[in-house]
Symmetry: C2
Subunit: 460 residues, 2 copies
């Protein structure tokens, strides 16, 4: 499947924060940086297929304007000149938003999503829209895994993860209702940052799971993920009614976690032996680095919480099914042929639900959130694999969300740490923190990446 | 200003719940009911101007289909055959949604708003879109008050209130971020029901204040308002993540409130003497009917709460300004000429805000909510005027929201009771309850309307 000319060994991740220093010092400029991204696109995109649409002309114009601002030492913000990709479920006034669905073919709104407006008004350079799965939840798009073209890149933020992993962009936006940021980040070996629920304004796009869906970042470095998230948070705020992303503009100082709860969740039973082994080795290394790892049976409240997270699937799907009724049932009524069999199956289940069913699922979620909050102060975070293994061979499916459901249900922030590899392709560890303590989570993630970042290059 | 042919004395409110009994008994049918509505439209609409758009053909087709279902004794729901108007900020797949703004001129989405889908799938007959103010918050539309064409109908659910008051429809949908349901209901003398925040799914429309905005009903009778709200709540649910409207499908039994807190709020100082007198008389009648009226100075916690509600304006506007930044700043960037000076002024203030300002306003709101919740069990509800007086002469402005801010900020349910009149035109009393206790509120509202409903006809 992989073309002879394609060589993953040539992949190099980009870091915009470093480039920005060069822009400010006059050693580099945004147009030159963009052209290097475009050169990667020219080289890899025909194989990787990360983009639903590219806007080279618009991007070059924006990069030139940014370059002029840097020459005058007047950049608009930390994202001025940043080439970025936008997940194609979010609106852009100058490009269609097609959500990989016939329902949205050619659809273009007259506005930018809230975070796109924040990026663009800060001088960022929108290079294109990145591929997602059908309506962010069903049939996969054409994107392939840059580390092995025969494998899935994960989803639903498939194109964002792949574009960053192929070094075509330093960062791209993603969204996660179940596992759609952390999972493709794990499979493509990039940093994924899913902040606290509501911390970044996700308005302005197709969103079938509003009470679950998080806006977040996929990036080559934690610095970029954090700085871009902070910029979006300050300009666009969080979801309406939410306090927005906490923390400072600069990446928090590294902080060694003292005590991490190791979790199995429903995902462990589905994880392949090699991935289990890689994770166990990682835990041993943490131990020898002075991080205490608490197994679930080390304390009754951890065991109860582990049990509760394993049972997340009992209610999670009901939350999604009820929330997708609108507007999906309307699309089904009028354009049934535009939806895949998977979506039709979902909608059959959604149609059979009552408000009482949804209320029961909400109550279950609230119980899980309360258990998680009660562990504050007792552990510094929670560690699992980020996915049940490396990306599967063949495109469908785009991976499973079992390791990601708990943090999506709880709304707690999580980071994919691209520190493991199995069969020569990436696998991530997932670190989850506590709601509204994004900064503390990222400080620990930084420590872990600085300590184990050599694996980032996937040479082990 | 009022045409000689126009005579408010001919106004008669419609009640769909009663008509439905006749449909079921074969004494009447939805098409005939619709034709009576259309006859009122023919008679009054040229003066009242409640509709942004009518769809007579679509409505007649839907009414005929409904009539067939009743003939087969198989109505789809309690709203089958209900002629209803949709506030023109909510999407309809078969009619444009123009929000009284050049920004949306001719704009038509391919979907129904969540509540419109719930109504339509239950067999309701969408007669048209009702006029709102510019972007639901600025320049008034052309609608006039059916009780006195020289007066404002209130806003922003202007057309919905006026269409019901003119007897053109039994009910219409509205939305309220500050006072946009209760205020026009008060001014037009109809029932306004603003449920608990999040109780009815408001998705699918232009919404510049998502953390404040409530979907609700304007109706000729409390029965219709409640039954329609319950239908929407069961089919479309509440806002995602919310438990949705509580209570049963049928109107709760009337229940005399034992103890109501009388509030002044910021509105009292702006209220004209005649309206103050009308309200004081109403309170005296309540007292003599066995309802205890607690003045703010009767208990320290009531005084503190009264003081806090008076200070709602200190933070309320900040909540609105921050939330309207998106997508309004984008519209301003690209189409400044499409926005009124009022909107430009708002956006200047919005631009000057920081996330920290918004967080402070959220904290203030949370404090007010906590004070309100602490009064649970101590009083049965809160009583104020619903507006500072009858609708002003001349169209702008559409009234003031000072009496409505507290319940909008708190998210507590409220009802406009059309029980007062000043200068021969309507003025409402506002009864506010406690969050998620909509049923208890409506039971009290029913008791009050049954007791004082003679004034409903505005003959006192």
């Amino acid at each position: 499947m992989s073309a002879p000319s394609y060589d993953p060994a040539r992949i190099e991740y980009l870091c915009f924060a470093a480039a920005r220093q060069d822009f400010l010092a006059g050693r580099d400029d945004p147009r030159a940086f963009l052209e290097r991204c475009i050169a990667r696109v020219d080289e890899f995109e025909s194989e990787v297929r990360a983009f639903a649409r590219l806007d080279l002309e618009g991007a070059r114009k924006a990069a030139d304007a940014s370059a002029r601002r840097y020459r005058q030492a007047q950049p608009l913000s930390v994202v001025d000149g940043l080439p970025i990709g936008i997940k194609d479920c979010f609106e852009t006034f100058d490009m269609p938003t097609e959500v990989n669905s016939a329902c949205f073919a050619g659809w273009q709104s007259d506005r930018d999503a809230a975070h796109v407006h924040a990026l663009r008004s800060g001088g960022a350079v929108i290079l294109g829209k990145t591929v997602t799965t059908e309506l962010t939840m069903a049939a996969p798009g054409p994107t392939r895994n840059p580390w092995d073209l025969a494998r899935t890149p994960g989803g639903s933020s498939s194109g964002s993860a792949a574009a960053v992993a192929a070094g075509m962009l330093p960062a791209a936006t993603g969204s996660q209702a179940r596992g759609s940021i952390i999972r493709p980040a794990s499979i493509c070996g990039v940093v994924g940052f899913k902040p606290t629920f509501g911390a970044l304004n996700k308005a302005g796009g197709f969103d079938p799971s509003p009470s679950l869906n998080h806006l977040g970042l996929l990036a080559g470095t934690l610095t970029d993920a954090w700085e871009i998230a902070q910029h979006i948070g300050q300009v666009a705020g969080g979801d309406p009614g939410c306090a927005g992303l906490s923390g400072e503009a600069a990446l928090p100082a590294a902080c060694r976690p003292l005590r991490l709860a190791r979790q199995y969740t429903y995902g462990w039973t589905l994880t392949d032996p090699a991935s289990k082994e890689a994770f166990e080795r990682f835990l041993k290394q943490l131990l020898s680095s002075g991080v205490e790892i608490l197994e679930p049976d080390s304390a009754p409240e951890l065991l109860a919480y582990e049990d509760a997270t394993r049972r997340t699937p009992e209610f999670f799907f009901d939350l999604m099914m009820w929330e997708m009724r609108w507007p999906m049932l309307g699309y089904r009524d009028r354009r049934p042929e535009a939806l895949s069999p998977t979506i039709h199956n979902y909608l059959e289940r959604a149609s059979a639900m009552s408000l009482a069913d949804y209320r029961r699922a909400l109550d279950r979620r609230a119980e899980l959130q309360a258990m998680h909050r009660s562990l504050r102060g007792k552990v510094d975070g929670f560690l699992t694999l980020a996915h049940i293994g490396p990306g599967q061979l063949g495109l469908p499916p785009v991976g499973t969300p079992w390791y990601n459901d708990p943090s999506s249900a709880i709304g707690a922030p999580s980071v994919n740490l691209p520190v493991l590899a199995v069969d020569g392709v990436p696998l991530g560890a997932q670190l989850m923190g506590f709601e509204r303590e994004d900064s503390a989570l990222v400080a620990q993630a930084r420590w872990l990446l600085e300590r184990f970042g050599s694996r980032f290059a996937l040479r082990v």
